[in-house]
Symmetry: C2
């Protein structure tokens, strides 16, 4: 049966001879640990992307001189597909993710890829591995497209060869045990990104750079880092690996895309919903001082992060230079909850997709 699945572009499919699905406990999914039977792969050499293939998920060989191990020339995306019913799986905003993927490629000197191949790869993978898409509410198939430099040369310059892969992984509900508002602290010495750097693209090095500050925040008892801008350590940029939003009075304020903030796909969804619902929406610089002032005068209603993993992540506490903001530490605010409900309803096909966000795949 599997052999009947064919791609609409020209992806050669080598189906697995033996599924590993029995190894997975769908009631205890750990994020990013188990990978579906198949993966997509396409290599770049001689100045062009070569033939795409889908084949069994598996290891590959690298040499110690592999460019990516030394110079970090790599980009990735993180997205999800949702079980609707026995006939349909919804991919969430694949075009927007692919647009960002290419944007990341341009900044990192990695050759761009076509949306045609991307969406065909996703559809074909989902069809082949439809049994890996978990069914319970809150669960999803996490999709990880990525490209890395694969030259074997120790020269600190852009590679001539690249490997593009897409792997998928069933993931459990982020809020299986209910919402848990996070506590944030601003890092004392560290910054995530600066305008002119790579903060606005999804490249490997951004994440490694954030591990130490994240660890220090944890040691101080906070869940995550609230990132301030690198130049003045004054304006709020992101939270952990999410975008951030503030509901002050009836206005949703989201830090504007200044060049060092990652343009989140969920961020765009939240902003679109807020506009649709008639809120004032401002994308602009917002300083940590402004947030403290709004807290003191009582107009700060909600703070929450947004990202593919959690959809929304309510913030219960913010610490900055010894001062503290305390919001609801038990449950999300009304607005964050409404965003969560609306976005997940659209993702699981429970509500009309008026924005054209989901890409249904017949399985």
């Amino acid at each position: 049966m599997m052999n009947e699945i064919i791609s609409s572009t020209n992806i050669t499919v080598h189906p697995t001879e033996e599924s590993r699905i029995h190894e997975v406990d769908f009631n205890n999914l750990v994020f990013g640990k188990k990978f579906s039977d198949h993966m997509f792969e396409m290599k770049f050499s001689e100045g062009v992307w070569q033939e795409p293939v889908i084949k069994p998920f598996g290891t590959f060989e690298v040499t110690p001189a592999s460019n990516v191990l030394h110079y970090g020339q790599a980009v990735f995306e993180g997205m999800k597909a949702f079980y609707v019913d026995e006939n349909t799986v919804n991919i969430y905003r694949p075009e927007t993710h692919h647009e960002r993927f290419n944007h990341s490629c341009r900044r990192m000197c990695i050759p761009e890829t076509s949306y045609e191949t991307f969406i065909d790869a996703l559809e074909t993978l989902i069809r082949l591995d439809h049994q890996w898409v978990p069914k319970k509410n809150g669960t999803a198939l996490y999709i990880r497209p990525f490209i890395f430099a694969s030259d074997n040369l120790l020269a600190a310059r852009s590679s001539d060869k690249f490997t593009y892969q897409i792997i998928t992984s069933p993931v459990g509900a982020y809020y299986a045990e209910g919402f848990n508002p996070v506590s944030l602290t601003t890092p004392e010495k560290y910054v995530r990104a600066v305008v002119g750097g790579t903060g606005n693209v999804k490249t490997a090095g951004n994440y490694a750079a954030s591990f130490l500050p994240a660890q220090k925040a944890k040691e101080k008892g906070f869940t995550q880092v609230l990132w301030l801008d690198a130049k003045e350590q004054k304006y709020i940029e992101e939270v952990g690996t999410m975008n951030i939003h503030f509901l002050i009075g009836d206005t949703l304020i989201t830090p504007g895309l200044n060049g060092s903030i990652l343009p989140g796909v969920t961020r765009r969804s939240v902003i679109a919903l807020a506009k649709e619902w008639g809120y004032n929406v401002e994308e602009r610089k917002i300083s940590i001082d402004e947030v403290f002032e709004a807290y003191e005068d009582g107009s700060l209603k909600e703070v929450f992060g947004s990202g593919t993993a959690a959809v929304v992540s309510p913030v219960g506490l913010i610490e900055h230079n010894g001062k503290t903001i305390e919001l609801d530490r038990e449950k999300p605010g009304e607005f964050a909850q409404k965003c969560f409900d609306e976005i997940t309803d659209i993702q699981y096909g429970r509500k009309e997709d008026q924005f054209g966000w989901v890409h249904p795949v017949s399985i």
Copy 2:
């Protein structure tokens, strides 16, 4: 005979059964392309560094979920060893390189390594592969120690497993065809690093981030990028992947280690020599405007980069916002030449090593 080489700590040596040295044309060495017969490897797991081994250079397997491909948690060093005579090879400043290696590890949440194992690995590799150390003046054995995250989990957090490898590669003379002063331009939109980020450590992502600006500088006809500080785009930080020095009057001015500049080992050597020779030495902020003013009033005598690859790299031209500084475009200045001669004389054992920079290995 090879089997007799044993390490002084506890490195297990698996010598190769067949040397690949006949594949190498020692008269046409391309940087970082051919690797010596042996490599060092040590893995970190269960919270400790495991048994170190030296084995034939070769490929290894990774899974598509390998942490380093996605999050860039990786550090490296770049250093050289020099052929002195049939009995001796000199490693240049291994302690200083190892100190920086550990400093990079700390910033990147990678477990530190001991100097004992490091130097033993280098000595053992050089003894095993002494025939790979090229003999001509200007040539060297390039040494690349590196550590990368090797967890197979798509979680954006520090890995629990790491792989530490050291590979070596014979390299030709950087100035085989004579010195060639470089031309520089300041990038319009891009920065290399910012205080609070990772610019002061040798981590993978810094290099990938610099590929696009380097490419743009080349397209405009310049050899390399002159990096300015990220906050004000005013103070000079580095040049390409080298540190930078200015001889203004009788003063050697080198940008101070502010937190976003890589502390170069060659930079330290240049500063030590300048002091030894009685120059005024200043490590401090130096703005691009100050350099232009010194050029206009005639006090700017020399500009040069410093790094392991080139030792010194004279700068012949600097372009910034349409204005140009033109220095000697044919040959290095007197001071840069003197640094080059002194450092290489010490490296090849032609001159007394008064600073204790070289670590001789009996082969």
